[in-house]
Amino acid sequence: MKTQGLTFEQIQEKLSGKRVGIAGAGGLGSNCAIALARVGLGNLVIVDFDVVSEGNLNRQYYFHEQIGQKKVLALKENIQRISRDVNVEIHDLKLGPDDILRIFNACDVIVEAFDRADMKQMILETVLGEVPNMPIVAGLGMAGWGDNESIHFRKEGMLYICGDEKNEIAGDNPPLAPRVGMVANMQANTVLEILLK
């Protein structure tokens, strides 16, 4: 098997100076942030306006006693219980185009981790239109269960797409931990590929 030529210490060293923006701290954002913290990313910028609810616990990286807490505060706490080396900057707000450009300005990569399709469109159009050289990693399509082979990765210029690009959430097609975690970790893996190049 071919190796990629970096030890874990060298990977941590490279990642320690990097900064990743996470737009949304739900199923995609919380799991992606945890994965990046575990491998030694230096700086995370996490934005969300929501609070943890019981219904989130089927896929999001929160705990029962955190129900009712602001997601950004709860996620920062969970990340810091895993890693002391990551600096976590949090913003408790609902992102609009101006905030995206301001808050993620100094990031090396942005992770699109919203649940609503209109919010996904808003951030992708803002980043692709206003800062076309910024890599953005989107999660598109992960509701339901099974159907492993439909989850894929593709690159479209600076837009990196992870997901099945077909399964929308619905009452009878809910987002669940396994597939949401697959796509969230695929996004984290894509971030590593971009940052370790």
């Binding site: 981790a113 399709a117 996904k120 469109q121 992708l124 159009e125 239109g129 598109l140 929308e168 987002p175």
Partner: protein
């Protein structure tokens, strides 16, 4: 004309199409999409004017909810 649509070659019986023409032909009716021609973003309101020609690289990305 021959174009690349979402990384696949496709042939259309026209010398020029707008993005909206292409969406109609392909029956892409999803209401939330990102459209790019040769790497440049065209928003919904620009799709009637944005022209596609032979050899162009077109991306149509559907915004699928969930996260």
């Amino acid at each position: 004309m021959k174009i690349t649509l979402n990384n696949r070659e496709e042939i259309f019986d026209a010398d020029e199409l707008t993005i909206n023409d292409l969406l109609k032909i392909k029956n892409y009716t999803f209401h939330l999409m990102i459209t790019k021609v040769n790497g440049k973003l065209f928003r919904k309101e620009e799709r009637d004017k944005a022209k596609i020609h032979d050899g162009d690289n077109v991306a149509v990305i559907h915004m699928i909810s969930g996260g």
